[in-house]
């Protein structure tokens, strides 16, 4: 895991997945996100970096309308997923969230069995016709989250009994099971030890084959290790967005440079 790999990591896909146009977010009277424009590519890992409180998590939560659950939060501007405005009055956030899955900062498995954790999404969305199909989805999702070998013998045991890293991979499996197109990850490794972090990062790289992954991280090393595109947020503004290799080696904005060299944040 060294930062030199950044240079080898080329963007190999130019299909547009999510486009945000002039997005502003207000918490009550606080202007949390200021006129952000960003284009997220399909089958690419996009990292949002920036100091604490810069709005990167807030912006991430706009992408699957998780901010709807906060009463005082107001979002303006357009966010297009495959050219459809997700804030359109016709869009049901429930349907949106099935397409745009999310993994949270702290592992939050349901206090149910490992199997039920993964099967919950497919069940409520009716993705399987019978038990055999559901079993298959669960196995595939757990394999994709690199948890199958560890969990296959104890699928009926509670998900809360796993270790932290396993729990986070279970949450990823759970998110993957609903068959999303985009996977949002809000600092997925901040509660994990270095070994578990490495496993999850490896996993993110594999997930890129199928999904567009957007990851918020505090760790610049992590952004450099896993992402192809990087966006740098500062004080609610999107300061710079570009290929990860360019951001880390040749930042255009002085604030970006200060941040990645450790002078601010």
């Amino acid at each position: 895991m060294n930062d030199m790999r950044v240079l080898e990591r080329a963007v190999d896909n130019q299909d547009l997945k999510i486009a945000a146009r002039d997005v502003d977010v207000y918490y009550g009277t606080t202007h949390a996100i200021k006129s952000v424009n960003v284009e997220i590519l399909d089958k690419t890992v996009t990292a949002f970096i920036g100091p604490s409180g810069c709005g990167k998590s807030t912006f991430l939560r706009c992408l699957n309308r998780m901010n709807d659950t906060i009463d005082i939060c107001r979002v303006t501007g357009d966010i297009l997923l495959d050219n459809e405005d997700i804030y359109d009055a016709k869009v049901d956030p429930v349907q949106l969230r099935a397409k745009v899955g999310m993994v949270f900062q702290k592992p939050n498995p349901f206090p149910k069995s490992i199997y039920d954790n993964v099967a919950y999404g497919p069940r409520i969305h009716g993705l399987s016709r019978n038990k055999a199909e559901l079993d298959e989805i669960v196995e595939k999702s757990l394999r994709r989250a690199a948890l199958w070998d560890e969990a296959k013998d104890r699928l009926d045991q509670p998900g809360t009994g796993l270790s932290g890293g396993q729990q986070q991979r279970l949450c990823i499996a759970r998110a993957v099971a609903t068959g999303p197109e985009v996977l949002l990850m809000d600092e997925p490794c901040s509660a994990l030890d270095p070994i578990a972090t490495a496993q999850v990062e490896e996993l993110i790289d594999e997930l890129r084959e199928r999904f567009s992954v957007v990851i918020v991280t505090h760790s610049m090393q992590q952004a450099a290790r896993v992402s192809q595109k990087t966006a740098f947020f500062h004080l609610g503004e999107l300061v710079e967005y570009g290929d990860t290799s360019q951001i880390f080696t040749n930042p255009q904005d002085s604030r970006t440079e200060s941040y990645i060299t450790g002078r601010i944040g």
């Binding site: 969230r97 899955g101 949270f104 498995p109 206090p111 409520i124």
Partner: protein, 446 residues
Amino acid sequence: MSDATAETPRKSSLYRTSDRVKRRNRSEVRFRVLGLTAIGIGVAALALLVISIIGNGYNAFRQTYISIPVELTADRLDPDGNRDADEMSRVTTFGYAPLLAQSLYTYLQDQDISMEGVSPQALMAMISQEAPAQLRRSVLDNPEMVGQTVDLEMLANGRIDGYFKGRVTMASAELDSNVTPAQLQLAQRMADAGIMATRFNWAFITNPDASGQRPEAAGLGVAILGSFYMMLVVLALALPIGVAASIYLEEFAPQNRFTDAIEVNISNLAAVPSIVFGILGLAIFINFAGLPQSAPVVGGLVLTLMTLPTIIIATRASLRAVPPSIRDAALGLGASKMQSVFHHVLPLAMPGILTGTIIGLAQALGETAPLLLIGMVAFVREFPAAPPEGLFDPTSALPVQVYNWTQRADPAFVERASGATIVLLLFLVFMNAMAVILRRRFERRW
């Protein structure tokens, strides 16, 4: 703060406790003593209460009976001789009483037990007034008994019963116009001969209430049923309404002035004196809605109103205790708000909800004041029918029965009231134990 500044640390031995630390330790000891005293006073008060109630009340669970053979002479009980229950019912309790007195008199003579100083009237007064009524009921139920000699177990009079329980003594009998020392001496002789004995009193649990002259026959049957019916009504109404209201307020309601007002009012309702709910019940359920007085359905409705705030507050607290990350996880997977609540939040909040409900029910079970206002103080001897019709029949309730009995003149009722309190306390202990067990059973970690 003169020259002893931070730069020159004061030299001191760790082995010598400084004055400051000593003072701190002393105040800590004082506080611990204070706390222990407070707990001690609490425990002592509880122990005193329990001991006095049990001391007074355990005798209510024992009762003195007279066992003699009684000849049910046909010409007295069935003059027409055709064993028709309707015709036989024309013989009133007063027709049976002489029969019992006669049998007792003859039996005592046969057994050579001296009835010195006890007139036939006084001898009859030793039998409970309830005994002929009980005999009449069993004869009417079973007309073939007429003409036979049956072994009968009849209640002894409350004063005689009191003698065996230590409530009535020779000295107190001297001053009592209801009982004479001669009667007590005879009772002692009968007990020695095995005719009179004290045994466990199931009738206390199963019998209905009895009038002031026959405390020996009074029981809690109707009151227990009435309380049980009311609890059914409270459970059926308060649990769903309370849980639904809490879920809406906690998970769905927008935060605005209207919901704030509701929230404040619910908290206030929990503090409203219970008798106010009784007035409300009287005005709305009885006077306005026309529901019958003394009925468990009205009592249940009033107690539901009283219990709702308790259940809502407990339910909201346990919903709030479910970590928001669980809601996020469900919503993030594309579950709807309702799915996230019913699939994930509610099961996790269940132990708290059940505990709150049971504590609310226990509170309702012990409530007296509102029931006084809706007519549940009435003297009820008829058992209510099975629910649902029975919910509209007049009944009593356990705490009201205690209140009723403490007001009666005969000291035997004091014992009954304490006995009823024991029963009530047993129910409360049982319910609280259920709350603990349910919480243990359903508790899950997350």
